[in-house]
């Protein structure tokens, strides 16, 4: 009989723990088509309806870029998603793999360098 409360707690807390894993600020795939090149960080925050989880300035010497990090819920899992600004204008956004295959190598370099400082915020 004493086991009953434990079993009940397990059933009640299990789904809650699962839901907690989904909680926290996230963006969704449907929101991405609202982004355009040239948007300011404030415009982006307004369209995504939330600020980035973290941001990191990256000085490449010849270019200064700002990397903003979000978490994107793709329906199966939540992955890091990055937006890069130059002169306060959005220049590119995507998963790390998308940065690596687009033609502007500086953008991939910037995200690569910013990853370390941004990781802690993304793990929270």
């Amino acid at each position: 009989m004493k086991r009953r409360p434990l079993v009940f707690a397990a059933f009640a807390l299990g789904p809650m723990a699962l839901l907690a894993g989904c909680a926290g600020p996230q963006i969704f795939h449907g929101q991405l088509s609202s982004l355009d090149k040239g948007l300011s960080p404030a415009d982006v925050e307004s369209r995504l309806r939330q600020p980035p989880l973290a941001s990191s300035p990256v000085d490449l010497g010849h270019r200064r870029l700002d990397v903003h990090a979000y978490r994107l819920n793709n329906g199966l899992q939540v992955d890091p998603y990055y937006l890069v600004y130059e002169g306060s204008q959005l220049v590119y956004w995507g998963y790390l793999s998308e940065f690596r295959r687009q033609p502007d190598r500086d953008l991939a370099e910037a995200v690569g360098r910013a990853q370390g400082p941004l990781q802690a915020a993304l793990r929270k």
């Binding site: 088509s33 982004l35 355009d36 090149k37 956004w93 687009q102 033609p103």
Partner: protein, 149 residues
């Protein structure tokens, strides 16, 4: 058993008949290229339904943008049909994503094709710079079309 099979077949055919629009498929999109001629493009698109289209002017340049739905796969959904015996049936529901084709005007040269997200961040600035207007016009025209229907 035979009667049940007939029931399932009838319901499947009935549901398939509900599809009033034709999506694009990967096979069609994979054959597109920058040098695809306008007539060839229409042939490739075939019966695919354009949900909205818009003429966009950017400076001296004019473009025609068309919005389709690309079927990327299917997911299975279970449903119960009672005719009058109740039987569970599995229905394949298409997974669709918005897909946009842009042609230069008046020649109709194919400029770009992809999801709005892909085109908005395209490396070609001619493409990415017209996307805010393309998205706005397509959305407005789609709403107008929905009101009329």
């Amino acid at each position: 058993m035979f009667a049940r099979g007939l029931q399932v077949l009838f319901v499947s055919v009935f549901l398939a008949g509900c599809a009033s629009t034709v999506p694009l498929y990967r096979g069609q999109v994979d054959t597109l290229a920058r040098d695809t001629r306008p007539a060839e493009l229409e042939q490739i698109l075939g019966e695919a339904t354009a949900f909205a289209q818009a003429d966009v002017q950017m400076g001296e340049r004019r473009y025609l943008a068309r919005r389709y739905q690309l079927q990327t796969g299917t997911r299975q959904e279970m449903s119960v049909v009672c005719t009058p015996t109740c039987i569970p049936i599995s229905i394949a529901v298409p997974v669709l994503v918005e897909y946009v084709l842009i042609q230069r005007q008046p020649g109709g040269e194919l400029l770009a094709w992809g999801t709005p997200e892909e085109l908005s961040k395209d490396a070609d600035t001619e493409v990415s710079s017209i996307m805010p207007m393309v998205k706005q016009r397509l959305e407005a025209n789609a709403k107008d079309a929905a009101k009329k229907s």
